[in-house]
Amino acid sequence: MNRTLPFLLTFIVGFTIVIATFSPPLDRLAVDTAVFFSIIAVFAMILGGGNLVKINLVKITRRQRDWQFAIVTLVGFFFVLIIGLFKVGNPGGVTGQVDAPGTPFFDVYTYVFVPVGATMYSLLAFFIASASYRAFRAKNREATILLIAASIIMLGATPFGTMLTAWIPDSLDIFEVPNLHFFLMSSPNLAGQRAIMIGIALGVISYSLRVLLGVERSHIGKDGG
């Protein structure tokens, strides 16, 4: 039963959506199924939260490596959960909008999460600079082509690239950095991206069929196959 029920659910729901997509009269059925999916997705958030608590509690109780960070994670998680769920300090009370300006939930997001998130992303600049200096070298023909293309793309992503080649006469404007940038993005990049996308699409179709027909059961868990 542990294996049959999930397989049957997968088979019925999956094929319902596939058939409805190609049969306009069944569109309503596909829409209803997608609504069920959205409802289930909300429960997945609860599952995710539970999983986060479980993993971090285990880490703390077993004093695993960097267990102190797990305490910070759990404190942060419960703090935001409580002020959001119970609308602590919300001027509109329990009926007020959870993230209205002036609420603790809004302040935590705006003054803690936003700067911390942006800082994490910004750190990339330092590592990219260091990695570019050490690893981006014209060791062979392929690496040289990559190096030249990347340099044009980087220059094209700034106004400096435009300034650098502004002197080129109109008859040769294909060699201006913004035009070279557009050419690289809309020709070689486009060809490569499409090839990757088509490859992925074929892979997804093949894998989906395996899941729907029950050949692939790893998503059910260790008892699934």
Partner: protein, 304 residues
């Protein structure tokens, strides 16, 4: 050119000259020194703003022209599908497009496929609309549908039946009968849909589940790192693309140039281009210097 800008150029130029001197002598540059110079390269142009001229690219211009060409009162859906990490690049696009859309007299439906997108959307609602468009009325000129969990599932539903997924707005008001959503049965009924984001779900999912099946005009604003994967959809399935801070700066330039009343508005996209440009120049210089050292050491190994 202000003293601050000259100071910035001297510091960055001096650092690069020192790096070049070391590299020509075959000595590697310490990683910590690179971090320090990148930090200064980003911080100084923020402290002493460094402005560049921007010319809107065809990809950005097409979005601008499309919004200009729509008759006043047109309905535009803006989806905030990003988080604070992407916000420095993407939020300026969302803010300037909101200004442009309301300045043209169009109506907006805001929504988000990301839980964090809801908060980013609130930044526009708190910092742009009350300040620049105090006369704009909720329900009549704009509506906030908020965040819905379900990723592609949400898109699949709104492509056929928008009220089914959004029977109320974010504050619980019924969407039925709202002038901002007048005549909207599905996402395909909007005159234009724009997704701001660079992850999943994002512009790509919007194209696959909404723009392509319904044929609605679609444009995207995305982080620079995600722009290359959207090029295959331009120009047939996506009419325009704003890629990274440069896309935002170009859109701000086009908008501020035409709408005089917004000539002095905050333009974070243009402002961020100063540090971004300087950082790109320094990284390119480091790549060149890295290769100088590489070829020098290779020659020395060859002669040894």
């Amino acid at each position: 050119m202000t003293t601050g800008v000259i100071f910035t150029l001297v510091v960055i130029g001096g650092a690069l000259a020192y790096f070049a001197w070391r590299s020509l002598r075959g000595k590697e540059i310490d990683r910590r020194l690179i971090f320090l110079v990148i930090g200064a390269t980003v911080a100084l142009p923020l402290i002493f703003p460094l402005e560049f001229e921007h010319q809107p690219s065809p990809l950005v211009e097409r979005i601008y022209e499309r919004i200009e060409a729509l008759p006043p009162g047109s309905q535009i859906l803006l989806s905030y599908d990003f988080d604070p990490g992407m916000a420095p690049e993407v939020q300026p696009m969302a803010d300037v497009i909101t200004r442009h859309v309301l300045a043209r007299g169009h109506r907006i439906a805001f929504m988000s496929l990301w839980a964090t997108g809801q908060a980013q959307l609130n930044q526009t609602l708190n910092n742009v609309i009350p300040v620049d468009f105090p006369e704009a009325e909720i329900e009549r000129d704009w509506v906030n549908l908020g965040f819905k969990a379900g990723n592609e599932g949400v898109l699949r539903v709104i492509a056929s039946d928008l009220p089914k997924m959004f029977p109320t707005d974010v504050e619980g008001r019924p969407t039925a009968g709202m002038p901002a959503l007048e005549g909207i049965r599905s996402a395909g009924d909007f005159d234009l849909v724009i997704s701001f984001g660079g992850g999943k779900p994002g512009p790509r999912e919007w194209i696959l589940f909404v723009a392509d099946p319904t044929g609605v005009d679609f444009a995207a604003g995305t982080a620079a790192v995600s722009a290359p994967e959207l090029y295959p959809y331009y120009p047939n399935q996506m009419l325009g693309l704003m890629g990274g801070a440069k896309g935002a700066a170009e859109y701000e330039t086009a908008f501020m140039g035409q709408y005089e009343q917004f000539a002095d508005m905050p333009s974070p996209g243009r402002r961020i281009m100063g540090p971004l440009t300087m950082a790109h120049i320094v990284i390119l210089a480091l790549i060149v210097l890295g290769n100088v050292i590489y070829f020098r050491s290779r020659r020395e190994r060859g002669t040894a």
